[in-house]
Structure formats: C-alpha cells, structure tokens
Symmetry: none
Subunit: 197 residues, 4 copies
Amino acid sequence: MPTRIGDIRRQDLTEAAFLTLQQHGLRGTTIARVGAQAGMSPGIVHHYFKNKAELLEATMRRTGAKLSKEVIALLRKATTPRERLYAIIEGNFAPDTFTPEIAHAWLSFCAEVPVNPQFARIQRVLQRRMHSNLMHCLRQLLPLEKAIAVAGTISVLIDGFWLRRGLKDEAFSRQQALKQMRDYLDQHVPETSNPEA
Amino acid sequence: MPTRIGDIRRQDLTEAAFLTLQQHGLRGTTIARVGAQAGMSPGIVHHYFKNKAELLEATMRRTGAKLSKEVIALLRKATTPRERLYAIIEGNFAPDTFTPEIAHAWLSFCAEVPVNPQFARIQRVLQRRMHSNLMHCLRQLLPLEKAIAVAGTISVLIDGFWLRRGLKDEAFSRQQALKQMRDYLDQHVPETSNPEA
Amino acid sequence: MPTRIGDIRRQDLTEAAFLTLQQHGLRGTTIARVGAQAGMSPGIVHHYFKNKAELLEATMRRTGAKLSKEVIALLRKATTPRERLYAIIEGNFAPDTFTPEIAHAWLSFCAEVPVNPQFARIQRVLQRRMHSNLMHCLRQLLPLEKAIAVAGTISVLIDGFWLRRGLKDEAFSRQQALKQMRDYLDQHVPETSNPEA
Amino acid sequence: MPTRIGDIRRQDLTEAAFLTLQQHGLRGTTIARVGAQAGMSPGIVHHYFKNKAELLEATMRRTGAKLSKEVIALLRKATTPRERLYAIIEGNFAPDTFTPEIAHAWLSFCAEVPVNPQFARIQRVLQRRMHSNLMHCLRQLLPLEKAIAVAGTISVLIDGFWLRRGLKDEAFSRQQALKQMRDYLDQHVPETSNPEA
DNA sequence: GATGAATGAGGGTTCATTCAT
DNA sequence: TATGAATGAACCCTCATTCAT
C-alpha cells in the first residue's frame, strides 16, 4: 500500500518540475531547483523518485494527463462527431496549455525520446490516445481508409504546430494554428456523417 | 585567403559534431567526444571554434545547407510549377537526409532554439527559405491568399513529419510521410495553373 | 539563524584559503588546494561560496578583521593621544601578523584590486579605517592641515613596509620597520598635545 | 656570438610583453597575446625565450632599465646633491612611467617575487640601485647613520606610493605623491651640504 | 520522513609548450 | 627562422547522487 503522504509529495514534485521546466528549460531543470520550487530540500527528491529520469518521466506523464483532461472535458459537452472532433482540436490548443513555455518543455522532452526508453513509452501512449480519439470521431464521418489517413495527418499537424510553438517564434500565434487547423478540417471532414461516401 | 587547413579541420569537426549529435543526442555531445570522433584532441576544438555553441551553430548551418542542396538539385530538373512543388517535398524527404538520426539531431537543435539566439537565427533562415520556395510554386497554381494558407500548412506538416522521424518511432516510415504529403497536395493544389480560380 | 555548520565551514575554508595563499601565492591558490587544505572535497567549496572570488573576498575580509582586532586591543590600553598613535603602529606591525607569509598574501590581494571590484571595496574600507584611526590621534597633536599630511604619509609608509615584508626579503626585518617608523614619528609628532602650534 | 636578429626579436617581445602587461594585467598576459602584440606567432616566443617566466623576467629587467634611464637623464642635469636627490624622486614619478597601468604591472610583479627566484633577483637589483643612488646624494648632506636611515625611509615611501598607484585608486594622484614626498624631504634633508652636523 | 552537507565525476575552457612543416 | 597546428594538463564550476543526522 503506497503511503498517502508519498503520493502528495510526488504530486507536488512533479508539479514543481513542470513549472521549473517552463521557466528554465529541460537543461536548466536541476534536482535542486525542482526541490526549491516545491519548497523542499534537494535530497528529498530521491526519496520519492529513484532517479532524475523517473521524476521527469512522472512529470511528463502528468502533463500528458492534464492535456487529456482538457480534451475529455470538452468532449463531454460535444454531441455530434464533428463537435467531438473540434473538441479534440480545441483541447490540444487550449490557451492555458498551448503556451510557448509548455510547448518548449514538450519539445525538449521529444528531443530526449530517442535516448530515453521511458520517455519513448510515454510518448507512444500519448500518440495512441490521440489516434484513438480522432478515429472515434472520424470513423463516423468518413470511410475507414480515409479516416485513418485524415487522423494521421491531423495528428502530424498538431505535432507540427506544437513544435512551432515550442520554438517561441513571436510571429506564430495560437490563433494562426487554430485557423489553419480549421481550414484543413473544413476541406477534409464533411459536416454530416457519411461513412459510406 | 583563409587557412586551407583551418577550413578542412572546421569541416571535419562539424562533420564529427554532426555524427556525435546523431549518436549521443545534443546532451551527450561533448567537446571531448566530438574531438575523439574527429580523431583530434579535446583542446584543438577551441582552436577552430571559439565556443561549443559556435561549433554546434556551424554544424547546424552546414546541415541546413546540405538539405538545401538536395532541394535545389531536384528543383533544377523540374519544369512545371507542380513538378517544382513535388521537388521541394521530395528534397525534404530525401532518403539520405530524412533519416531518424538526422531528424533526431535536428530535433535536438530545435529544442535549443529558444535559449540560443544563433540557433534561432539559423532556424528562421531555413523556415523563410522554405516559405519562399513554396510560394514561388503555389502562386502560379493558386490565388495569393489560398497560396499563403497552403504554404503555411505544408511547412507545418513537413516539420511535423520531421519531428515524428526524430522520435525514431519504428512504426513511422518515410513512405508514409510521402504518401500523406501527396494526399494533402492532391487535395489542395490543382494540376494546372489557375491562380485566378 | 544561519546554519551553525555553515558558519564553521566557511570559517574553516577562509582559514584554509589564507594558508594556501601564503604557501602558494594567489596564482597557486586553486579551489582544489583550498579544499584539500581544509580536508574537504573540491566540490564542497561551492556549497559555501558561490565563487572563487567570493571565497577570496571573505578570506581577505577576515584577514582585515584580524588586523583590526589587534589594533583595537592595543588602542584600549592606550591613554594619551601619542600612546594611541603608537598603538596603531604597533598593531599594524604585530609579530603574529606582520609575517612575510601574511604580507605576501596581502600583496597578492593588492595586485588583484584593480581587476576585482569587491577587492577594491575591501581595500578602500581598510584604508579609510586606517586614516580615521590616525586622524583621531593626530588632530589632538597637530594642526588640522599638518595632521592630514602626516596621516597620509604614515599610511603610505605602512603600506610600503608591508610591501617590503611581502617580498620576503630576508634582509628586511620587523625591527627595522618599527625603528624607521618611530624615527619618522619622533620628527613629526610632538610629545604633548599642541594642536594650535 | 648572439644573433643580431635574435636581439631585435627579444627586444620587440619584451616591449610587447610590457604593453600587454599594462593592458591585461599579469594574469591576462598570455604567450599568445604577447605574440599578437608583437605581430608574431605564439610559437616563435619559445625560440627566443625558454620560458614564459624568462620572457617576463626580461620584460621586468627592461622596464627597470627604462626607469633608470629616466633617473640618469635627470641626474645629468643636476649639479648640487639636493638637486640630484630631487632628480631621483622626479625620475621615479615621471608622468610617463608613474601611470596606474605600469604601477599595476609592477605590483603584480612584486606579488610574484616570493615564488619566483628570478623575479626576486631583479627586484633586489633595482632596490640596491635605488639605495646606492640615494646614498650618493645623502652622504653629502647628512651624517652617515642619518643618511642610511633617510635613504631607507625614502625608498620605502617610493614603494608605498607605487603600491597606491598600482591600486588604481582614482582619488590618488601623482601630484599628491610628489607633494608628500617633497614635504618629507624638506623636513629631513638640509638645503646645504652639512655631513658633519 | 526530512534535511542539507558532502562527494566526485564530468563539462567547457584556457594556455604553456611542443613540433611538423 | 618562423608558423600556427596540436597536445594535454589544469582550472572553475555544476550537479546527480549519497549519507549522516
């Protein structure tokens, strides 16, 4: 049975790590800084996480969960498949999440994926969830093969926009991403269900 | 006239840095490792590059130039606007360039853009060249506004695919990227010139 | 309340730095050597001092304080202005302080003053304290203008003697310094108070 | 037989080292910088000087010689012992020599004396020359014992003033040094010759 | 559980010195 | 002679990790 207090501390620390990531980037995220951000000593971190890697892993997992929650909340309000599709998009570009800082942290995370198996695992989970969410909508609007293709392109587009955001290019805005995203959807996804078309 | 030997060493070192980047990631790319990769002592690196940052900067610049050469070579052979458009795409997904290793190196580079002004400058140059190349074709095939929108989406898609490639996901192939890319083009870019349509 | 252990370590380290300074000169005073002298690992030094500069700064400050204590102790016992004047002199040439080693450390410190603002600050403080101490006595023995001139020359003489001592010239002794100092005072400072003379 | 060109190069290099010392301080005086200052390659320095230490040694020796020349030139014009005394003082505080930069370089040099036997040797030579110059004058103006004492104090005063100058304290000027120096002389050295008094 | 002191490895960088050309 | 390429040691500093308290 896991200690209740342990769960709280772990949560506090991942939250602190998340904030530190945004403020200092992945390279500037040291154990000491995360501890300070959480108001704890540097040493305590290793009581709750075996590794720095494990801390970061948990952090990314929680960040992914946050994003998911946003999407899920919006999905609840949606009724038609198309509304659900838009909910997924809106959720992935929510103002509080789709920030340059968070996107940058995510980008740094991606850059580590190939040399960190745990990161790779998390990344795969997130990607699959995205795909499954998209397919759930698109299958009701498009024939299977077409749905698969569109789902793939949408998720690549989302990654591309996040990458751009992570570059902290001032000339690139959230509105732009949403507009381009909607343009794509308008062209490739019909208003009404027509899976046989 | 710059020292011939200096140019050679600089080239060797950027090449070594590029290889090290692919093998160890950005974080694992130390001066000592780059030196070893080039068969030189650690100290010599600072003879040719003031900084680690400058070495990496030169490395990314050279990598960008390589990519450009590929695109330019293909553009030469193309005659119609549409062929030129495809040349740009093919060039950006050339088998020798669009490898998981190179894409990973590029991804690491992107992750540093927000904290490294020089990297930001290089990234901006590459992005603008891409945009200008695309617009040169699309303006002959689509009305201006539409051309801008499509050019924007294409370049975000390319970034998205490179990101995916950089994640070294075995399930994601170059063929897939090309297919999705072509699907998008087929839907948004007419065969023949019709800028007024 | 500051960490007790921290204060102890900081004190140990400044003491170790002081000894290292005497044995190896400023250039030979490396973080590792100071750590070793204090029986600690090289890394720990940065736990207590942000910089090498800060360590040396603290070291010089403490050394200055030691010198001051000596002077103050002697000043306590003095009753007449002239006795106080001699107390200042004696204090600045105390056998335990006016050693070739300490003088050498002080000389190294002086050599860094122009390129280290913090060192400059400390040096200025010490110099002002000296001047103020001297003036306190001399104003009771000499007219103001004369007092200022004599105070200035005395403090330059003291610096000159310390410099000589720092050169570790075997032919130069503490007795000599004291004798020359007294000769000067006998010629320029009257036995009894006579500020109007 | 020493190569003529070798002597020229050695002279150029010591001159360059002298300039570098003023501009970058002792710590900033690297072989490469001295070479650059002399318009030569870094490697050539070791053709003419076995060591960095030897280069600096030669540099200090030459600097001492410069100072001497100044003094000698002024001594030539002087006729009476007292004039000669003033010539020595003026020579040691010549506007082109008694600069904060040169004094700082000299101060750094002094700080190395105890750990560098060659430096110690040079320093001793300079000090003896000073003493002998002073005695030559003072013996004609004061009884021997008194002359020795005054010569000693004068030379300590000069060192003290040079030290102060080397601290680059803006509040301390050449005029001040000269005034204080003259005050001292006026009090301790009679106008006319009176060795028996 | 919790602290923060302590370690030690490793990184970037500088630089005197050597050596092939 | 002269160059500047090359080496390698040493320095300061950072930081994940361990451990006594």
